[in-house]
Every structure is written in structure tokens, then in C-alpha cells.
Amino acid sequence: MPRVVLVEDDPSVRDGVEMGLRRRGHEVLATATGEDGLAALDAFRPDLLLLDLMLPLMDGVEVCRRVRADSQLPIIMLTARGDDMDIVVGLEAGADDYVVKPARTEVIEARIRAVLRRIEAPAGVRPAVEHHGDLDIDRAGHTVLKSAEPVALAPSELKLLLFLSAAPGKVFSRQRLLEEVWDHSYHSDVRLVDACVRRLRIKIEDRSEDPRYIQTLRGFGYRFGPL
């Protein structure tokens, strides 16, 4: 079962979520501040970080940035609906998904599962490593090289790239991507997709404002290539 670090300043929410997850078999380390959470990462080695955005002192967005600076640890933000700007900033900072409070534990757990789920490599007809322009994508090894240099991709970024590149030239609507990559419902927040695409472009495109790999089709969605 996944090991989760929970950063939440409100004791009741912290206790409630911790209790709920632990009863479902997760190993949970709950901290009240971002600083404590960051400090716990090295020792606890979690599979996932559950991060409240509204924190005293160091806020969730800042915590998110520091984690992303040297780690691709999956991050799920805990937020309240309506804190829209915070959600966008958190997604830009590298969060993979978010959960709106208040939420039942089963909802939180479903998000955790979705983020941790790996995109399965297609059955072995394809070569282990695909070459798309300067990109080398190793589906089995879950690594991406750009110009032979490894690219550090967050879980959501990697999954999006693997999904799109599996069918180059095919257009996927944002709703479809929400369902396929994030396990969200059709009507969920497409900003997840947009923010993830932006982050991905910064990492793999030569010029993110003139993308080669992740292309936009206005009114319809995104596609990989064609190169």
C-alpha cells in the first residue's frame, strides 16, 4: 500500500484524512506545516504527497515548487472549490491532481490510485524505445530522453506524453484526456490538462510557444505531432 505524507494545518481535517487513509491500508505521515512535510520526505520516502494549499508560513504552492525542484514525487493538492487561482498556481507549480475539500476518504483514495496508476505499455509489438524527432520515449522504462538527455517528468506529465504519443497525429479532446490520463469524469476541470500540457511543453519542446510535439487544435483538443 502507498506511503503518503499529508500536510494539513487543520487538526480535524488532518486527523480525519489520516484516519480514513490509514484504515484503508495506507501508511500515512501527517504534518501540520510545509516545512515539517518537506523535512519528512527524505526519511519517510513516500509514494505520494497530499498537500493542503492553504498553509501557514510556507504555503502549499511553495512546498510544491521545492519538491519539484529535485523530485518527481506525485503530488495531489487538497483545496477548496472556489480557490481557483490557487488551483491554477498549484498546477503550474507541478501538482499532478487536486481534490476539493470536503471530500470522502474514498474520493481521496481514488485520486491517489489514479495518480499512481501507470500507463501500461502496449503489448510488445512496438520497440522498447520510440523515437519521435529528438525525443526518445521508453514506454517500458518510463523514461524520456530529449536529445539524449533524460527529461524529468512528473507522473501526470509522463502519462500525458505516453498517452498522446501512443497515437501520433490523433486528436484527443480535453474531456477525453481527463478521463484517460487522470481518471476524472468527463465534466471535470480541463485546467488540469492545460496546465499539464504547458509544463510538458516547457520540458520537451524547443520553443514552447511554437510546439512541435504537443500540438493544439483549437476547438477540439490536443494531439502528438505529426512531426
Partner: protein, 508 residues
């Protein structure tokens, strides 16, 4: 607020000017008439008095002696006629059956029988104005008395003298008066037009300002005021308007403040409720799982707490959503979607696809906020399933630039007195089922979401029975000014939903 042309033709300005001119005309005419009458009688009387007096005087000076010698009498008459005053007159003499005159004919056609009889019988002179053949004459009759002895009493001599004097000059004078009055009145009226226009202007300018100010207030600019000039009734009106406007502005401001405080309070309460709810909701699973192991009463209590916590969470979320609408903080995050697909996903996401008959023509694409559209469809269908009766039908169609979404149930419909209130917050058409489901905000939130898209929603009872909700959403998106038409993510121009539509065929 535009004045129709027809009434403008008889507007206040025209009426004021006409009234002014009427007054001026009436006074001019009255003055002229009075002047005319006075002048006329003055002119005529002066002429008459002069004529009568001088005729008497001349008669007494030149009276012929008795017995009458006709030739001698004629000369006397010539003498009298020669000294006519103020106008030439013709003298006629009657004595018995003798008739002599200073003119061509011995008898005048102008003298009336009345005057003759009066002169013959009355012991005094008489005169009469006669109009004959359109000409005015003054006729004077004088019975001549004679003294019986010098210095003694007098007896009628039987001699009667008449003078016939044309009054042409007097008529001319009077005509001249009338002409003068007319020539004076017309320029007078023209001159009266100037103060009339000025008066109308001075009266109408405040009225115009008042109208402009009232218009402004009607348009919501409650700080509209009028400049107060002078101390007349218009100034009083302006002052009254200003003070009323100030009071109104104050009252409205108070109401707005009160409303804002109430909304802020609701929002704050929701926020404060959310945190404890977040903790509670996270552990409801624990309660549900452990309930089976508890004794029945405790289990019921635990399950009740769990279930109501869930409802409370929904209620708080709806309250917060409502607060965002009230604060106009709700934003649209639009995307171009297939309408049929969106509805289908709303139904399937809630496992309703088997309970709802869907008539969803393919190929209708529309730019909207998918999450909010999902809320609209889900709330309407949920409302139909809970309060109406199955079968429930969802039908999509496009008409006149709008996407029409109709949700119809087969229940008894909505009570007529409840119909105007179905979109009110917390309105419960039926108290008995008030706790059956939902927060009581579902339809209100639906309505707000429709408005946010620039669309309309209406509720009615379908001809065949059952409630029918109809949502119209414009294809070309909401009018600007209410929320952001595009979400923050797409506002950067990188999202697929932004900008002109492409004709590229989707491969998905």
C-alpha cells in the same frame, strides 16, 4: 423615454406660447374694443353735441320771421347751412305744409317719421343717428319757439328746422382707430412671442433637466442631482427632487450594504463550516464501516450522522456556489463540446442512463463551460426524477442560434402558485418532501449557471402533463461582462478551446 412626435407638437412649449399669444391677443382685442367703443362714443358725442349746439345757435341767430316768406326762409337756411359745424349739413324747414331746404330737394329722405313727430310734439330738440345706404347721418330736429312779446314767454311757432349731417368723417376716424388698433395689436402679438418663448424656455429647461435626472436615476445612477436656480416653484421642485433622490440613494445604499453584509455572512459561514465538515466527511467511511458492528440504536445514530454529514457537505458547497454567484465571482471556463456527448456523460456519470429517455441529435457543437452545463443537466434531471415521475425525457435541439435543452417528467406538474417561485432559493413547493433530497438551492444554482452562459431558463407545465424545464443557451457564447468567458487556463491562448473554431475534423 423618447417623447412621441405627436404629443411634442402640443407639448408644454407650444401650449405655453399659445397661451401667451392668446392672452396677448385677448388683451389687445379687449383694449382695442374698449378703446374703440369709448373713442367711438366720444367722437360721435362730441360731433353730436357740437352739431346740436351750433345748430340751435345758428337757428336762433338766423330764424326767419312769421309770417313765413318762402324765399326769405330759403336764404335764412342758406345762412344756417353755411355755418355748419362740425360738418356741412343741409337744413330742412317745415311749417305747416311748407317744405324748404338749403339743398337740392325740399324734403330729405333721411329724416325719419319718428324724428318729425318728436320735433313736432316734444317741447325740445331731438337728434337721431341714421344709417341709410351704408352711410351714417346725424339728423337733428328743432321745433322753433317764438316769444309772444320781447322778453316774454314763448310758444311754439309751428316752424320746425331739421339738419342732416353726414358723419363720414367720424366713421373715417373710427375706421382709422380700428386700423390703428389692428396695426398695434399685430406687432404686439409678435413682440409677445419673444417673452413667450423665453418663458417657455425658462420653464422647460428645469423640466428637461428633471427628466434627464429622473432618467439617470431610473438607469441606476442614484447620484443624479439637479442644479437649483432661483427661488421659484421649479426651484422648489428641484430641491424636493434632490432631497428625495438623496434619501433614495441613502436607502438603496443601506439596502445594498445590508445585502452585501448578508452575502458576506453567508459566504463566511460556509467557509467556516467547510473545515470541520472536511474532517467529518473524511471519517464517515469509518462510521459506515463500523456501524455493522455496533448495537442497532448506536448503528442507526452513526449512520444518520454519516448521511447527514454528506448532505451538509452538499448544502455547504451549494451555499458557497451561490455566494460566488452573488459576489459575481463565478467564472466560465468554456470549451467547445458535443452537446449530445455532454448530456450523455452527465447521465451516465450518475447512473441515470437507464431511467432517462434521451433524444440527443448528434453533431451539435457548442461553446460552454462543461462543468456548469453538467450541473444544469444534472440538477434538472435530478429534480425531475425526485419531484416528478418517470419517464423523464431529455431532449436537445437547436433553434435560432440557441441550444435548447428540455427536461420533462411525467409527474403531476408544478402547482400554478408555485410556478413563479421554482427558481427561488430554498423554495419548497411541497413541504412534505422538503427533506427528500438536495439543498433547496439546486434550481437556483441552475438558473445562475444558465444566466452565466447568457441563456434563459423557464419552467412550465407541459400540455400533456408533467413539468417541463427549457434551457436556451446561445451558440455564440455569453454576452461579455458577466464572469470571464474563458477560464484562466485558456485565457493564455494556449488551450484548444480558445480562438476561432477550426474546421479540422476530429479524429477521436
Amino acid at each position: 423615454m423618447k417623447i412621441p412626435g405627436a404629443s411634442a407638437a402640443f407639448g408644454v412649449r407650444t401650449r405655453l406660447v399659445l397661451a401667451f399669444l392668446l392672452v396677448a391677443a385677448v388683451s389687445a382685442v379687449t383694449t382695442a374694443a374698449l378703446t374703440y367703443r369709448e373713442a367711438r362714443s366720444a367722437v360721435l358725442e362730441r360731433a353730436q353735441d357740437t352739431a346740436v349746439a351750433s345748430f340751435r345757435e345758428e337757428v336762433e341767430r338766423f330764424v326767419p320771421g312769421l309770417p313765413l316768406d318762402l324765399e326769405a326762409v330759403r336764404w335764412e337756411l342758406y345762412d344756417i347751412a353755411a355755418r355748419s359745424k362740425p360738418h356741412p349739413w343741409i337744413v330742412f324747414a317745415e311749417y305747416g305744409s311748407t317744405r324748404v331746404s338749403s339743398g337740392d330737394r325740399p324734403v330729405s329722405g333721411v329724416l325719419t317719421e319718428d324724428l318729425r313727430r318728436a320735433a313736432r310734439t316734444a317741447p325740445h330738440g331731438s337728434f337721431q343717428r341714421v344709417v341709410k345706404d351704408g352711410k351714417a347721418y346725424l339728423t337733428i330736429g328743432m321745433p322753433v319757439m317764438t316769444r309772444v312779446v320781447a322778453g316774454g314767454g314763448a310758444v311754439p311757432s309751428g316752424l320746425i328746422l331739421f339738419a342732416v349731417m353726414p358723419m363720414t368723417n367720424e366713421e373715417t376716424d373710427i375706421d382709422a382707430l380700428v386700423t390703428a388698433a389692428r396695426d398695434g395689436a399685430l406687432p404686439g402679438l409678435a413682440v409677445a412671442l419673444v417673452p413667450a418663448l423665453f418663458a417657455a424656455r425658462s420653464v422647460l429647461r428645469p423640466v428637461r433637466e428633471l427628466r434627464r435626472a429622473a432618467d439617470s436615476m431610473g438607469g441606476g445612477r442614484l447620484d443624479a442631482r439637479i442644479a437649483v436656480r432661483g427661488r421659484d416653484e421649479m426651484a422648489d421642485l428641484a430641491r424636493t427632487f434632490n432631497s428625495s433622490a438623496a434619501r433614495l440613494e441613502h436607502s438603496v445604499q443601506e439596502l445594498r450594504d445590508a445585502g452585501a453584509r448578508a452575502r458576506r455572512f453567508a459566504s463566511d459561514v460556509s467557509h467556516e463550516l467547510r473545515t470541520p465538515l472536511a474532517g467529518m466527511l473524511a471519517v464517515t467511511d469509518v462510521l459506515d464501516e463500523e456501524a455493522a458492528t455496533l448495537d442497532p440504536d448506536t448503528a442507526r445514530a452513526v449512520r444518520l450522522i454519516s448521511a447527514e454529514t454528506g448532505k451538509l457537505a452538499v448544502l455547504v458547497e451549494d451555499l458557497m456556489e451561490m455566494s460566488r454567484f452573488d459576489a459575481r465571482a463565478a467564472e466560465l471556463t468554456t470549451d467547445e463540446v458535443d452537446a449530445a456527448e455532454a448530456v450523455r456523460r452527465s447521465l451516465s456519470g450518475r447512473k441515470w442512463q437507464d431511467r432517462v429517455r434521451a433524444e440527443l441529435p448528434e453533431g451539435i457543437r457548442i461553446r460552454l463551460d462543461p462543468r456548469r452545463f453538467d450541473v444544469i443537466v444534472a440538477n434538472l434531471v435530478g429534480n425531475a426524477l425526485h419531484h416528478g415521475a418517470e419517464p423523464v425525457t431529455v431532449r436537445l435541439s437547436s433553434r435560432a442560434g440557441s441550444l435548447i435543452t428540455e427536461v420533462r417528467d411525467s409527474g403531476p406538474g408544478i402547482a400554478p402558485d408555485a410556478l413563479p417561485h421554482v427558481f427561488d432559493r430554498f423554495y419548497k413547493a411541497d413541504a412534505a418532501r422538503s427533506r427528500s433530497s438536495g439543498s433547496g438551492l439546486g434550481l437556483a444554482i441552475t438558473q445562475e449557471n444558465v444566466r452565466l452562459h447568457g441563456g434563459t431558463i423557464r419552467a412550465q407545465n407541459a400540455p400533456g402533463g408533467g413539468a417541463l424545464f427549457t434551457v436556451e443557451l446561445p451558440f455564440d457564447g455569453p454576452a461579455s461582462g458577466h464572469g470571464a468567458p474563458d477560464g484562466p487556463a485558456t485565457a493564455h491562448g494556449e488551450g484548444p478551446g480558445t480562438g476561432p473554431h477550426t474546421s479540422t475534423e476530429a479524429g477521436a
